[in-house]
């Protein structure tokens, strides 16, 4: 079925409204008060239901707010000219779940701690005079989001209610059969079953995925840092200031550029090296030359089974100055050769008697190379497994046909085997890339983001925070530092970078999604 163009649909909609003025009256009545239109349509039970919803909202708002105390308190605690805030803010002081929620979302609070307001000094929390509690921007933001979600649901019900009043009246007018309230409820009850059993899931998703996501998203547009982590500085909306900051301000821009460059380089090289080595292993093991296939396969898969945190931290130990690697180099008398080699190809900044693999800034490139090698150790077996699986499914007759046509081994590999493997493993490659892009563990457990960049190389504007990235920090491990370095959290910038990652990864995922249509399309 082809949908009509948008404009003509709008026209038809208004035409319909014009033709049914009586139904429009019902709709407007429902718009004024939920259930009123239904009452006019003589559907009492339905009207009762909708009005019940409306009543519930009003009661919740009244009970969660302080409206009943407002009159008494306003006269007892007037705003004084000597106060810091000389006006009484009614919405803030007495608003309930919905009103105060939306107010908080818009303003993020106005009254900090230890100022005079309505003749008293504000404190962290006052149980009786709740308006004396200082505004906590993060609570207000969280409550505001919850209120916003609830309000959206209410609006959806209201729109449904208006539409129902209109359509029912129209059908009544034209003498078409109209469901009685009873029939309606029975039908709704049966239809509701799927929604009812989805409610727990939706609540979980709402509170643990969607609202936190929106919360982080909104943080990017505030000035929330460690400076207003206490109640004496109210958080403010700053619009796109943080976004321009990461591009315009030289300090943040330079560091950000470096981190992004390394993140992309790491994600690409980590995925590609694992894929290539995995393919080589699979091809060699499955070739006719190799005996004890099962033995080799089993041993070479082992790194995949080791928990990655354990392997990374064991390697972290192995690459310490007194760790396994240096020890082997000493025992085999190759330490000097290794130092000379690493210096000559530029991985080591200056020759040393003992190699610091992970901790010296001059050797940052060496550290990066080590990270990619360790990741290769951990990641190649997965692709080996995957590609071995693909190899067993390759159609034999294709090769026979090719050899009859005179193709040599290389040709049948590059024209048949390789394209088939690539096609079968493309989603896995993309997934691995996105995984590595956010591979927190590979960086954090190996180096903790270090070696640290010497302070004279860090731009002045960055030195205010301890959340300066190290030489091997990728975006996500830097975000972790920005968010959780004690006493120097830069939440808003962390949120900005989170959004950038989300947009980038989201774009790639959409590409993968469009390939996997069967997953979300219904039968």
């Amino acid at each position: 079925m082809k949908k009509k163009p948008f404009l003509s649909r709008i026209k038809a909609f208004f035409q319909d409204l014009k033709n049914n003025p009586d139904a429009l009256t019902s709709a407007i009545l429902s718009g004024v008060l939920m259930g009123l239109g239904q009452l006019r349509n003589k559907q009492k039970s339905k009207a009762g239901l909708f009005f019940g919803v409306f009543l519930l909202i009003v009661v919740v708002e009244l009970l969660t707010g302080g409206y009943i105390y407002a009159f008494d308190e306003m006269s007892r605690y007037p705003a004084l000219p000597t106060d810091t805030f000389t006006q009484i803010n009614f919405l803030r002081d007495y608003g309930g779940l919905f009103v105060k929620g939306i107010w908080g979302l818009i303003t993020l609070g106005q009254i900090p701690i230890m100022v005079t307001y309505r003749g008293n000094v504000t404190v962290t929390y006052n149980k009786v005079l709740t308006w004396l509690s200082a505004d906590n921007s993060m609570t207000l933001l969280g409550n505001g989001l919850i209120a916003l979600v609830l309000v959206s649901i209410v609006i959806a019900i209201w729109v449904f209610n208006i539409r129902d009043a209109y359509v029912t009246r129209k059908h009544q007018k034209h003498g078409e059969p109209v469901e009685s309230g009873k029939q309606y409820f029975k039908r709704i009850w049966n239809e509701m079953f799927p929604y009812v059993i989805l409610i727990p899931t939706l609540i979980m998703v709402l509170f643990f995925i969607l609202i936190p996501f929106l919360f982080s998203f909104l943080l990017a547009f505030t000035n929330y840092t460690y400076r207003n982590n206490n109640l004496s500085n109210i958080v403010k909306w700053v619009g796109f200031e943080n976004f321009t900051k990461i591009i315009v301000e030289p300090g943040w821009a330079g560091i950000f550029g470096n981190v992004v460059l390394w993140t992309v380089l790491f994600a690409i090289s980590a995925s590609v090296t694992c894929y290539i080595l995995g393919m080589i292993q699979a091809l060699i093991i499955e070739s006719k030359y190799v005996k004890f296939k099962k033995f080799f396969r089993t041993i070479l898969i082992v790194p995949w089974a080791v928990p990655s945190m354990v392997s990374l931290m064991v390697f972290r130990q192995a690459f310490q100055q007194d760790g396994l690697i240096n020890k082997v180099l000493f025992q085999t008398n190759t330490m000097d050769d290794m130092v000379r080699f690493l210096t000559s190809i530029g991985l080591m900044g200056a020759p040393e008697t003992i190699i610091s693999w992970l901790t010296v800034f001059a050797n940052a490139n060496l550290t990066k190379a080590v990270i990619i090698m360790v990741n290769l150790w951990m990641g190649a077996p997965y692709f080996m497994m995957l590609i071995t699986g693909v190899l067993t499914t390759l159609p034999k007759d294709l090769y026979e046909a090719a050899s009859i046509d005179g193709a040599n081994k290389w040709q049948s590999f590059s024209r048949i085997t390789l394209p088939l493997i690539l096609r079968a493993t493309l989603p896995a490659i993309v997934m691995t890339f996105t995984f590595n892009f956010n591979n927190f563990g590979a960086i954090y457990f190996m180096t903790g983001g270090g070696p640290a960049i010497p302070t004279d190389l860090v731009p002045q504007s960055m030195l205010v925070t301890k959340g300066v990235p190290g030489a091997t920090d990728i975006l996500i491990s830097w975000i972790y530092k920005l968010s959780f370095t004690a006493d120097s959290q830069v939440f808003n910038m962390a949120a900005v970078y989170s959004i950038l990652i989300f947009v980038f990864i989201g774009a790639i995922s959409v590409f993968n999604l469009s390939r996997a249509k069967t997953l979300w399309e219904d039968d």
Partner: protein, 286 residues
């Protein structure tokens, strides 16, 4: 004759390469095992060849018996183990219940907005978990919910709902619908159909999901480091090698890591077949 020679050379090269790779795979692990059984506290003391004069159980003794507080009911390691176990068990039940119900709804029931909800689930799957982490942390702190392993498990559960829903849904769609239909003709409600007819048939995928959910919190560092003050296995291990000078105990770490890694590896090997199924089915099968 010439072909035979080439084949022989290739065979030798292939085996040499594989033996080289095998040693690269095994050496770090053997070193780790050796370190766990070495006397003293320094990496320098770890020999390259097995050396009985340096053999010691002391690091395992540390793991099983050491506790920073006197009169503690159990060693720090076991306390951390129990905390992680709590997360794992709560997560296991949460994930199975949610995935089965949601997967069933999307596989079998017809309702308005189903396609949009499925698409929403698909999009949610893309949300990087760390994006919500900061917000969840602030919210948990606000409501005094930090330092509670069972409440932390809710975050794990919620995060894995979308993916597991698709797994269950995909599995259920391969079960003929005629089964449900004949059940509903016999008067079964949808809930009865799910519990009596479909549930026994989807036990394999439930097992897969359950194992995955149980395994997820072990050695997952990021969430646990922020939401719990007291150590779990992951943070306990991390602190042994990332801590300051006196807390740096690499050999104790090796012993602790070995104890936790071995059961995980056994499960991984056992689940190997299914893991690959899970990894690919997410992207390809319906």
């Amino acid at each position: 004759m010439k072909q035979k020679l080439i084949d022989a050379v290739l065979a030798v090269l292939a085996h040499l390469w594989l033996i080289f790779m095998v040693s690269i795979v095994l050496i770090p692990m053997l070193w780790m095992i050796m370190a766990a059984f070495t006397k003293g506290d320094a990496l320098t003391g770890v020999p390259l060849w097995p050396d009985m004069s340096k053999f010691s159980w002391e690091h395992f003794d540390y793991v099983f018996n050491y506790s920073a507080m006197e009169n503690a009911a159990m060693s720090d390691y076991w306390a951390a183990f129990l905390r992680t176990l709590t997360i794992a068990v709560v997560n296991l039940f949460g994930v199975v219940i949610f995935a089965v119900i949601t997967g069933y709804t999307f596989a079998r029931l017809r309702f308005k907005g189903k396609k949009n909800l499925l698409l929403l689930m698909m999009v949610l799957q893309m949300f990087p978990s760390f994006m919500g982490m900061l917000a969840l942390y602030l919210l948990y702190r606000q409501f005094g919910m930090t330092n509670n392993p069972a409440l932390l498990a809710l975050i794990y559960t919620a995060g894995s709902i979308p993916y597991n829903t698709f797994l269950v849904r995909g599995f259920m769609r391969n079960i003929p619908k005629s089964l449900d239909e004949s059940a509903s003709i016999d008067g079964a409600t949808p809930l009865q159909t799910l519990t009596k007819i479909l549930f026994p048939l989807i036990v394999p995928i439930i097992g897969f999901i359950a194992v995955g959910a149980f395994m997820a919190p072990w050695l997952d560092y990021m969430l646990q480091s922020r939401f719990l003050r007291e150590p779990t296995i992951a943070t306990w291990l991390f602190n042994l090698v990332a801590g300051g000078n006196s807390a740096y105990k690499p050999l104790d770490f090796m012993a602790g890591a070995l104890i936790i890694a071995i059961p995980i590896m056994i499960v991984q090997f056992f689940m190997q077949k299914y893991m690959v199924y899970g990894l690919t089915s997410g992207a390809e099968k319906g």
